[in-house]
Symmetry: C2
Subunit: 349 residues, 2 copies
Amino acid sequence: MAAEIVLALDAMGGDHAPAMVVRGANIARVRHPEARFLLFGDKTAIDPLLRRYGKLGSAAEVRHTTEVVGPDDKVSHVLRKGRNSSMRLAIEAVSAGEAHGIVSAGNTGALMALAKLVLKTLPGIHRPAMGSIFPTQKGESVILDLGANLECDAANLVQFAVMGEVFARTVLGVVKPSVGLLNVGSEELKGGETLRQAAALLRDSGLPINFTGFIEGDDIAAGTVDVVATDGFSGNVALKTAEGTARLYTEFLKAAFRRSILARVAYLMARPALRKLRDRLDPRGYNGAMFLGLNGVTVKSHGGTDHKGFATALDMAIDMVGQGVNPKIIEELSKFTLPTVQEPRRAAL
Amino acid sequence: MAAEIVLALDAMGGDHAPAMVVRGANIARVRHPEARFLLFGDKTAIDPLLRRYGKLGSAAEVRHTTEVVGPDDKVSHVLRKGRNSSMRLAIEAVSAGEAHGIVSAGNTGALMALAKLVLKTLPGIHRPAMGSIFPTQKGESVILDLGANLECDAANLVQFAVMGEVFARTVLGVVKPSVGLLNVGSEELKGGETLRQAAALLRDSGLPINFTGFIEGDDIAAGTVDVVATDGFSGNVALKTAEGTARLYTEFLKAAFRRSILARVAYLMARPALRKLRDRLDPRGYNGAMFLGLNGVTVKSHGGTDHKGFATALDMAIDMVGQGVNPKIIEELSKFTLPTVQEPRRAAL
């Protein structure tokens, strides 16, 4: 049996917490017998749920607290107060060596800020990034940053590329992941100085990275590269636009099948195939944004997700621990010297 | 009969020029009996095409030139040389008062640069923007800028909002268009100073604009607002990501229908409905990026489009002339005083 992996869970974060957290943990337990869970939250709410999934009891332990970080709490407030919030205590379990990673479906900004404060960044990393896996025509790829760093300098982008490459190699199992920098339009309209600098660094740094140059927005879903590195503003816009477009397409498809009796019958016949399509695009199958560059595996689940989505986020955290993503990021970064870093003019957190 | 509208066409721009330009003009002629066309390009190539569409002859006139702007020509080169290129001569027909607007499927960067040089910007406009119509869950909306201005200050964004609002009102016929600024993520992660300034200006400027605040990437396809104002980098990323996602969905849908005999039969039955879906998402139905803020209607057709797509771009130019978009932009902008403008640090053109 694989070595034990312990995850600290913010049992109170997310719209459907703590029920979906406990049920999600039970799904992950079946898939990963090596996993154990420390559940931080209200014992009176969690214990009855645990009893519902009998076998989970032996793989889980509840740490009681009644404080929670609200979805609309200000980051500044969360950093000052709430020392006993389920989110903060879960993160501290990682820094104390009690857990290998932390998963929360709570407030994104608060999670990033607390994780940075408590866990600190990995040696050599200037800014942690938020990344995610997304489906493409060729399989799946990684995109980062998704909003933790709205403005980035060239060195930040290079580090995102390195962290994404390690993630694709270790967690997705891509042998020699290709890496692209997100840019715009035609040659003549190509992006600014920061992107050109980052591209030059990736080309000339001597890093053993398969950097293929600039890509455009449509290359993301095409799967042109395994890793898309970008600043947090563009990454967030791209990810959300893709989500919105997929939803629009689904609506149009439904409307098309309602057009005639024949189309309705066709829909009934095609339903199994269309279910497979839905599963393939199901956001719950891609749930979980990983915070890369922190001294501890940290995964953010979508706040509105259900137990299936939360289990996917747990899968990701377990894989990241099991594959040793963080030690490998440190190793890669130690292979080259980053240029002097100009701090970006402003950042989100 | 409506007043005559004359369009100058760069007959040599685009992958399938001049054939698709002439055939596209013939489609537009049927839809708009008030339209006339000045075709700039190689007479020996265009004349035989014109003869194919007999009635077009009386609505079209060829202005011979053999010079063309290539798809990969550098903007700096195009500005210095090529004074007799079909693209430049077509633009000059507008500045000379011979035509009301210009349509080209050629090099985007060259078209923007030449149009700015020859036509100049409208009074009060600091930077022209590239906009486009896109399909949403509620109908259609306008998004700008799409790449002409990679970095924007708050005043630029305000002007984009005003120009987009006028376009939605006049060309799309929306009575009181809602306007949003593209931003990111949760409250805590919300974008930078420029966006906050632009939002404050739009709220407090006294402009009769229905500004609803910030939107996110998924609001674009949801149709949350009629006008999405954003900087050219984010706008380009959003538009291309949406295109790529729609293509991914189509591929997944095709694969789903190939899964089983039953699904194949269902596909045959649903085909008419799926064709309607395809038409609804057909990029040719949304072809044509308008350059707003120039002293003359300028529309860029996608370079790879066919005659149907080119006809859509002609429709847009004809509507913009007919509805007097440019005079209305001037009128709106004259209603308020823009704050002092800091020039962005760098721009694409």
